[in-house]
């Protein structure tokens, strides 16, 4: 299981433009597993991205809609992408601005399936 998850995270980081990937506990904002996160404060990213997704999920639930299956935060020089997984886990990627979002989403979903 652990090996499969690690392999899935590595598959995410093999997409051109992905700087790192991690599994985050959205309840606590803690890193569960990570790959290729050199130069990135994983703990802080985990806490903040978990906060973004949890608050956004609450807003979406308040709108009477289903919880998000994919979240894409786009910034000027990069992006944060997240796919919720089983339990309260999130699979998160930190990317460059011009990354192939569709491909990253596909790999994030595959990694999330490993957590099911």
């Amino acid at each position: 299981m652990k090996t499969g998850l690690a392999a899935s995270l590595e598959a995410v980081t093999r997409v051109r433009g992905v700087r790192g990937a991690m599994v985050v506990s959205s309840e606590e904002g803690l890193v569960v597993a990570e790959a290729s996160m050199e130069g990135i404060d994983g703990a802080a990213v985990a806490a903040l991205m978990a906060g973004v997704v949890v608050r956004l999920s609450r807003a979406i639930e308040a709108a009477g809609r289903m919880r998000p299956a994919f979240v894409h935060l786009q910034a000027e020089r990069g992006a944060l992408l997240a796919v919720p997984a089983a339990g309260d886990l999130l699979v998160v990627a930190v990317t460059d601005a011009d990354v192939n979002v569709g491909l990253v989403r596909l790999e994030l979903r595959r990694a999330a399936e490993q957590l099911a």
Binding site: L56, I60, P68
Partner: protein, 291 residues
């Protein structure tokens, strides 16, 4: 050849070559026959293959107009004009919608453009003349003007593709997002503290949820700003979220405001981004208006 035969032949041709442009006359034939759902499917399928074809957006706009969805019809004609600024059909359609909304100068501008693009188009010259008469009547009410043309007369004069003329939805009058799709349901403008400034949102069950949603979004705004600052990614530009029944798009029209756009999940995120861009422009204009 009868309309039925047209449809049969065109359907056969499209089945034989799904990439052909025959979806355009087929969609139009279905629309004229009143098979609006089928016409819409044909138009949407065509747009999937040819997203940059102005004629395809024009076709979908006419179908939407027939269905009474004037806001989306406007959007489609607007896209057609972005792709082809001289598109006669799109100018005619938008001119008609402006006329219905009582915006006569804009109606005249677009109908005149339609006439210039296609001088032989039957009915357009008469439509231009009628709008000019209406404008003159508005400017000189004491001169016993002729009665303003009814929307139905306008349809007849222009041989408009829009067969019926429903009233504009009430949300078209919204102060901030006037004229935009979802001006009062599906667009929210809030300040950095999560207080709703304008627009609105209803749940699928019909409950007003704008204020509750806005309150949650203030935290999103702050966390997103901190996350990108920490990673030195520059300012955040947008947050898109896909759920099982809706797509969401958040952006910041100004440094102190947040815009949320919600559509059902059949509307792709790319289109949401485009709609959000238009709504953000409207929001900035509203926020920066003179006191």
């Amino acid at each position: 050849m009868s309309n039925n035969e047209d449809i049969r032949v065109l359907t056969t041709q499209l089945a034989a070559d799904p990439s052909s442009l025959v979806f355009l006359p087929l969609g139009e034939a279905l629309r004229r026959r009143g098979q609006l759902e089928a016409a819409q499917k044909v138009a949407v399928a065509g747009l999937t293959r040819y997203p940059d074809l102005a004629d395809a957006h024009d076709l979908l706009a006419r179908v939407l107009g027939d269905q009474g969805d004037l806001e989306r019809a406007f959007d489609e004609w607007d896209i057609a004009l972005r792709l082809d600024p001289g598109h006669a059909g799109a100018h005619k359609g938008i001119g008609f919608l402006y006329f219905v909304a009582g915006e006569l100068p804009q109606a005249l501008e677009h109908l005149a453009a339609a006439q210039a693009a296609d001088p032989g188009a039957e009915g357009v010259a008469a439509a231009v003349a009628r709008v000019r008469e209406a404008l003159a009547a508005r400017e000189a009410p004491a001169a016993a003007p002729p009665p303003a043309p009814t929307p139905e007369a306008m349809i007849a004069a222009t041989e408009s593709a829009i067969a019926e003329l429903p009233e504009l939805p009430a949300e078209a009058d919204d102060a901030i997002f006037a004229g935009l799709e979802g001006a009062r349901d599906g667009l929210l403008l809030l300040d950095g503290n999560g207080l709703r400034l304008g627009g609105g949102l209803t749940s699928p069950s019909g409950a007003a949820v704008g204020d509750a949603v806005a309150a949650h979004l203030a935290g999103v705004f702050k966390d997103a700003s901190r996350a990108v600052r920490l990673l030195e990614l520059g300012a955040w530009k947008s947050i898109a979220a896909e759920s099982g029944d809706a797509n969401f798009f958040l952006s910041a029209p100004t440094s102190e405001s947040l815009l949320l756009l919600v559509r059902d999940n059949s509307v792709p995120i790319g289109r949401l981004a485009w709609q959000a861009d238009r709504a953000a422009s409207a929001a900035r204009a509203w926020l920066e208006r003179p006191a």
